[in-house]
Symmetry: C2
């Protein structure tokens, strides 16, 4: 069934349903949609088909339903063999008469609601099985125009099966494309619970448990950073870019609180510093918050992508000489491409000397704090004024889960609070200091904490440590495998600091060429071509990009708990297979 | 079972398990936790208990497990009667030996994973049943210190059952506390699928279907706003506050694009306008983006909370006379407290006359665009330059789902793009104009579109219309019921524009008092007291707040599809019951 049976013809031979047999209707958008709602996914398909029909004529509806019933009947045997375990099998249910309006809160809607959700879960668990099955594709690639043909005019023809079918299995053991990969089952259970609770982090009143969990978890994270007694402040935000934006806002509030009321005109010309390898969110924050990207000064790095502290100090002095005020330094713990860790202690020395806010962007590398073996790469992080740390990256928590942690308590509140009396009432019957809404730049805030909390509870700190150590071992394995292998060239020398392994694959046709511009121009096109072929064949996914004056190279990253050495081997074999004749 | 059987004593009388019977151990944190993991939720409880033990000694672990097995055995009958339908019943599974590390991607982890998820779903479906059951409490209130006692020291004792137990049933027919209420089952299924797909909206490459769905849905929303052919731009953001922040950023970029590179110093003194009744996110944006809250000018409103256009024009002229540049006007379509709709057409006339960006904050009221009966309240919205519209409020989409829509294409990209070559590769094999990452202030972005898309597909536009019309009918019912009823006083006269009904309840002891300061002072304390008693008894929840010079009053809002007239009647009865003797 996983292989997908071709949908049977719609012409009926014998009919077991209550509608009279009709001649095969002309193909239309519903048929196109029905064509993909086959096989194991037919049940939700029928349901949604039912929903779809409620604005259509009865004739049209019965046609669709009968067509589906036939398909269902034909696919019955092949699909029911899949489940395997009789305990998971449920009675076949006819959803052809079920409408969205029949679900709860509809009267007597309970049974249909539960049955509907169980069917959804069956589809999802089938998807999960396939995600972890190496014999399935990572993706079933289609160009935008191809998918759009099925969706044009908002005709709603694309089914939720398609959503999974044409989507990318980010949890697949061979998906290496992003910093966030993997599908943690405990985290997933946490997300399902969160969405069922459907509340937000606005006040203790409406999210008492989540608000407290957030508070406890942030404290634990601050302890791990090394701030005394875990003191300080923090909040979960919708991603690392927003967390980094918070850090700039808070730093500005610390040094120039009057900007909150009077605007940037009340401050001198402020400058910010970050590495040329840092994440672009620092630049986005400079633009958004009114500093201007020209006042973000890029720092030079060594060949491994780490900030050169002397360059920072020189640029601070230069800015001061021009009359500008150096306000904020971002040190990256785990850069996006090279996985480099800036030397935090040396940067902290300079920040202390010149009274500059030190932020550590550990969106990608913060997870290494959980590993006794690797946390030394963030030495000095306890000297930072603020830290971004995304559990949804290296720690495998489902998206989104990002924290901004602040050493000094009160700044977050001071910076963002507007004391809207109609939103936060001081005369509530409980201790309103637990209401977090006024700390945030958001109002309502999605509950990102529970899945993380549940995972931490289930795995323990040691579970995260094992995961991280394993991923770093795998990247060392890849590095050691290819560093001297024919056809590979490393982008920088030495074992990677994080799981990022950056390399060029040199096809045989380029191996003899001298180190000329022509060679680099041709090499620049190799990674995109291999990636395109990978996506077409759907076997694996890995990212590529240029960086500075370096032409396109592959950036392998490993954060997927499902990945093993065999998957690493598969990746290099696949690159060699696809790239051999370029 | 819903009533909760008291957990049986841990002392064993007869033992059916393989561990030797032991004397009852002293109560510790595990017991405290176990005490609440009883009844129908015992299965996930056992599982999590198993997870919890993996770092503990074998002795400790077997003690817990055996204790659980006993409890499970004792509760077996009472719980298995609940499901009712045999189709939903699954074989009892012993999770006492299951660890998080046994789940996928563990070898042979498939069966345990599926079983685990099915158990989670059983807990969630039980929760859903109770949510729609009026005989259950809306919440089981505990003070922060009480819940914290169970969580202190991050000992992880609080179970996921507690999370639901002590949480607030925002989908309960009698939960009226927030603008976002209700639990839409189709939307919930969409959220479960989204979290299983676990990808983000960064690029077409990793979220092809979601990226296209977002594009089509935004276009449909723009068509409904009335922009020709649905042209324009937009993006889903993490809530209305961020959507409003986008609007201010885009307006600034339109008039002063050089601020992006040079900062606010490159612009003259810019001023923004919004109603004194508007949402505080406009003020937060003024602070964050470097305008300063003093440069946000508050507009006077009529007694219904609607902006007085003449006041806007006078203040624009005054600002210009001072040499400031009026740049941005926010018109609210559905204010937070009164539910007021600012007169958009008259405001648009002024904005056109003085070349000012017009934003419509329809976070709360935007949903009314789906109703032929009520959309006239937003007449003129098609003249706005940008619109915030939160399907997660009036349209019942699960949190978070908020859109910022922009009439002019290109501004969003121009304002936010940083063209990070290492993140967005123009040499990909597909049409990269579908990559949305560089339009956003975020980098990774949660998939908020699918649940909305699925609901739209299932209900149709007409389904949303019916929901909205019904909620407005219910609020009219409440208004007509209490406007002349003894013991009630309306905060403003006339039928509400949105579902907001604002009123004071006057306890008998205050009814005879003259209109004095003392009366208002005493009245100010009534709503908080009633609310506190409501929360303690857990029967219903409704918000209160002061506004301007008005003392605390109740703000009833209805967006919950489960609410009926009987729930409205219940609310007033409950207010009268609790407030009678104050």
């Amino acid at each position: 069934c996983g292989n997908g049976t071709a949908p049977p013809s719609t012409s009926s031979t014998s009919s077991s349903h209550s509608y009279p047999p009709t001649p095969p209707p002309p193909l239309n958008c519903y048929d196109a949609w029905c064509g993909v709602a086959h096989g194991c996914t037919r049940k939700l398909g029928m349901k949604i088909c039912g929903f779809l029909q409620k604005n259509n004529s009865l004739e049209e509806r019965s046609r669709i339903v009968s067509s589906f019933k036939e398909r269902a009947a034909k696919n019955l045997l092949s699909c029911d063999n899949i489940g395997g375990d009789a305990r998971f099998r449920r009675t076949e249910t006819d959803f052809s008469n079920l409408f969205a309006r029949d679900l709860l809160p509809a009267k007597n809607g309970e049974e249909q609601t539960i049955q509907f959700l169980l069917e959804v879960v069956e589809i999802l668990t089938n998807y999960i099985r396939k995600t972890f099955d190496r014999s399935t594709k990572v993706l079933d690639f289609h160009h935008p125009h191809q998918l759009l043909e099925g969706m044009e005019g908002f005709n709603l023809e694309l089914s939720d099966q398609d959503t999974l079918k044409y989507g990318v299995r980010t949890g697949h053991p061979r998906f290496f494309n992003q910093l966030s990969t993997g599908l943690d089952i405990v985290g997933l259970a946490g997300e399902w619970l969160t969405s069922t609770a459907n509340t937000n982090m606005f006040t203790y009143e409406i999210a008492p448990v989540f608000v407290l969990m957030e508070q406890l978890t942030l404290k634990k994270m601050r302890e791990i950073i090394g701030w005394p007694d875990g003191e300080g402040d923090g909040i979960f935000s919708p991603g690392g870019a927003i967390s980094n934006m918070y850090s700039v806002m808070i730093a500005r509030y610390k040094f120039f609180p009057e900007v909150k009321t009077k605007g940037m005109a009340a401050a001198p010309r402020l400058v910010l510093f970050t590495s040329e390898h840092s994440h672009y969110s620092i630049k986005k924050a400079s633009a958004a918050l009114g500093f201007g990207t020209e006042n973000l000064i890029l720092l030079n790095t060594d060949e491994r992508g780490r900030v050169i502290p002397a360059d920072l100090e020189a640029k601070v002095i230069e800015a001061k000489q021009k009359g500008y005020v150096p306000m904020f330094v971002n040190a990256t713990a785990g850069t996006t491409v090279y996985g480099a860790f800036d030397p935090i202690n040396e940067i902290a020395d300079i920040c202390e000397k010149y009274n500059i806010w030190l932020h550590v962007d550990g969106a990608w590398g913060g997870g290494l704090l959980m590993s006794r073996k690797h946390r030394h790469k963030l030495n000095g992080v306890e000297r930072a004024n603020s830290v971004t740390w995304n559990p949804h990256k290296m720690m495998g928590v489902p998206l989104q889960c990002s924290a901004i942690l602040v050493r000094e308590r009160g700044l977050l509140q001071g910076c963002n609070s507007m004391c809207a009396g109609y939103l936060f009432q001081p005369d509530k019957q409980y201790d309103v200091t637990y209401d977090t809404g006024d700390k945030a730049i958001q109002c309502g805030r999605h509950v990102d904490i529970f899945k993380f909390w549940l995972m931490w509870k289930a795995k323990g700190t040691i579970g995260f440590e094992q995961h991280i150590d394993k991923c770093l071992d795998l990247s060392a394995y890849l590095y050691n495998k290819i560093k001297n292998r024919e056809g590979y060239e490393m982008v920088f020398n030495g074992e990677p600091q994080h799981t990022n392994v950056c390399f060029w694959y040199i096809p045989p046709s380029l191996r003899g060429l001298p180190d000329s511009e022509e060679r680099w121009e041709r090499l620049h096109k190799v990674a995109p071509k291999i990636k395109a072929m990978m996506m077409e064949s759907g076997t694996t996914m890995v990212g590529y990009q240029p960086q500075g004056d370096k032409v396109n190279f592959f950036r392998m990253v490993i954060s997927n708990p499902a990945a093993t050495r065999s998957d690493i081997d598969f990746l290099t074999e696949e690159i060699e297979r696809l790239g051999h004749d370029l």
